[in-house]
């Protein structure tokens, strides 16, 4: 978990904007602010802009999300900031992800009227994935999640491949960027828009990543090894970002 948060934090450039939810994304943005990206601006979809988060929020609309913030506004204002092209990153998750980075957070099962498991639905995910420049996904890596075919396409990745987002009417130049899992960091091949492994976490083999993935997985050249968290990152993460272990877990302390 700590490694995943560090990987996510390192992807966030200084002077950029990021729309986050609670949990890992929030921890990653807070860590980035305290390391390489001090002027990163955090947005929450319920309307919190530029908070100085005193603790981990529990809800993306709770009062922590606009604690000592620059603005407390509306959901439409935040989403329209994305729609105007001002939001660089967003972090999403889901019950299922496919090779094109499409996400399912709506249901498990085949019959929409009688789902086997009903999940929350899009929330703001479909909006953020449509309108932000770069979509980051943080998730555990297993075959139940990394599937060939989604039960429901809640949130757009590259849809069916090159050109599909633009053909659907989504703003050009937007799309999935990175997937950070407990095994690897993945990106997308320029020509196919399919997921590919960029770096393996220390001690993880490519075979293991493939065994945990339900679709064919390409590999980037050269295949790197993920840098482990530095001592400085860990201290900030454990002492400042998440001192109560809400996200990194108490056992990690």
């Amino acid at each position: 978990m700590e490694l995943m948060i560090c990987c996510a934090a390192r992807l966030l450039e200084d002077g950029r904007t990021v729309a986050v939810g609670t949990g890992v994304p929030c921890a990653a943005a807070m860590l980035a602010q305290r390391t390489a990206a001090p002027s990163l601006v955090i947005f929450f979809e319920a309307g919190g802009v530029g908070p100085q988060l005193p603790t981990m929020p529990i809800s993306v609309g709770d009062s922590r999300t606009f604690y000592r913030a620059l603005m407390a506004t509306s959901m439409a204002d935040v989403m329209e900031t994305c729609q105007r092209g001002l939001m660089d990153y967003t972090f999403l998750g889901g019950a299922q992800i496919d090779a094109y980075g499409n996400l399912n957070s709506t249901m498990i099962g085949k019959d929409y009227a009688r789902p086997k498991v009903r999940l929350p639905g899009s929330g703001g995910a479909s909006d953020l994935a449509s309108l932000c420049w770069r979509i980051l996904v943080v998730t555990n890596h297993d075959r139940r999640r990394f599937v060939e075919k989604l039960d429901f396409l809640t949130t757009p990745g590259y849809l069916t491949g090159p050109g599909a987002r633009e053909a659907a009417g989504l703003p050009p130049g937007t799309g999935p960027y990175r997937v950070i899992t407990d095994l690897a960091v993945l990106g997308y091949a320029e020509d196919t828009k399919r997921m590919q492994v960029l770096s393996l976490h220390p001690g993880v083999t490519l075979e293991r990543v493939r065994a945990h993935t339900g679709f064919e997985l390409a590999v980037a050249e050269p295949l790197l090894t993920t840098s482990p968290p530095t001592e400085a990152e860990l201290i900030i993460l454990r002492e400042e970002v998440d001192p109560f272990g809400y996200v990194i877990g108490r056992c990690a302390k």
């Binding site: 319920a46 606009f66 407390a72 639905g121 396409l153």
Partner: protein, 335 residues
């Protein structure tokens, strides 16, 4: 040019701006005293079969007392705007599959069943997975825009979201072509809810409201709704409103009832007032796991109390509220 498609889901709310105008033409707009009890407001303003929308963000600035009262009065066959619906959906779902008929019959879904980081509600899942709630899919921004279209007095607004997804396929949205640029856009039909309930920090007896913190979709929702119930932490004198009208975010002419409900967002968070009661929310989630236990839980907290104050008493009363106030203000962290 690619052919245009449309969602296959049912449309639950009439987007007609003309029919909304006909309604608003006869809506009272005089500056009159609207102070009443939650029980009276719900009895008069929420009708069986209504399209209902709840303000706030699920467990944040939630009009809890109105949600409780709707279930306690056994309102039936409602269509719900499932916009960031977390604890509100959970409360209303207590009127489904518990031997009290069917409170939620249809839902425009953007976010339901879950309570964010707290997990999924077992009972809300039971209710939706049973098939007794007819659903149409949207997104959070999608529903916010649908309220915005209504607040603008329009039948629809276009967005660049939901395109290319199953969310769109299961919605009732329609692809359109921009008449100026030729780009494909998604047209979202306006929602003019029959009734909405919003919890605010302060209101006067006429319904002029002040909110601190994020407004989520509430400023548009207040203007979109045909009937609006306001619950407020504190009733304030009209003179205070007049001294700083720039702070009025919902005007009296949108409002049909004003109810003073201190700690009215409990067990949700009320910004600058009190934090969410995670202990109680967790207890609620755990009780839902078993139907017998859940019935007993509801009898104790919801059906067995006469009003919201009695619910607060059963949840620990003033002592608990004091602790949550300290938590909200971070006093428990030595601030």
């Amino acid at each position: 040019m690619a052919s245009l498609s449309q969602g296959e889901g049912p449309l639950f709310a009439d987007p007609s701006a003309d029919r909304a105008r006909a309604f608003f033409a006869q809506k009272p707009r005089a500056l009159t005293d609207k102070l009443t009890s939650v029980a009276d407001a719900v009895r008069r303003l929420v009708q069986d079969g209504d399209y209902l929308a709840i303000g706030g963000f699920g467990g944040d600035r939630l009009p809890t007392a109105v949600c409780h009262e709707i279930v306690r009065q056994g309102k039936q066959n409602l269509t719900l705007a499932g916009h960031t619906a977390t604890h509100d959906f959970q409360i209303l779902a207590a009127g489904n599959l518990t031997g009290r008929g069917k409170t939620i019959a249809r839902c425009d879904v953007a976010y339901i069943v879950g309570l964010e980081a707290r997990g999924l509600s077992p009972h809300a899942r039971r209710v939706v997975e049973s098939g007794e709630v007819e659903c149409t899919e949207w997104s959070n921004y999608g529903l916010a825009v649908r309220f915005k279209a209504a607040a603008m007095g329009l039948p629809f607004l276009p967005v660049r979201s939901m395109l290319g997804t199953d969310t769109f396929k299961q919605s009732a949205a329609r692809e359109i072509i921009c008449p100026f640029t030729g780009e494909k856009l998604l047209a979202l039909p306006a929602i003019y809810p029959d009734c909405a309930a919003i919890h605010v920090h302060e209101a006067d007896r006429y319904g002029n409201c002040r909110i601190r913190g994020t407004t989520v979709a509430d400023l548009d929702l207040a203007r979109a709704a045909k009937r609006l119930i306001i619950t407020c932490e504190r009733l304030i004198p009209n003179d205070e409103i007049r001294q700083d009208p720039s702070r009025t975010v919902i005007p009296f002419y949108c409002v049909d009832a004003v109810c003073e409900v201190p700690f009215g967002s409990y067990p949700g968070n009320m910004p600058y007032e009190y934090f969410s009661d995670e202990r109680h929310l967790c207890e609620w989630l755990e009780a839902e796991a078993d139907m017998e236990r859940y019935r007993a839980f509801l009898d104790n907290y919801l059906f067995g109390v006469k009003d919201f104050n009695e619910y607060l008493e059963r949840c620990g009363g003033l002592q608990r509220m004091q602790a949550l106030r300290q938590e909200e203000l971070l006093l428990h962290r030595g601030r």
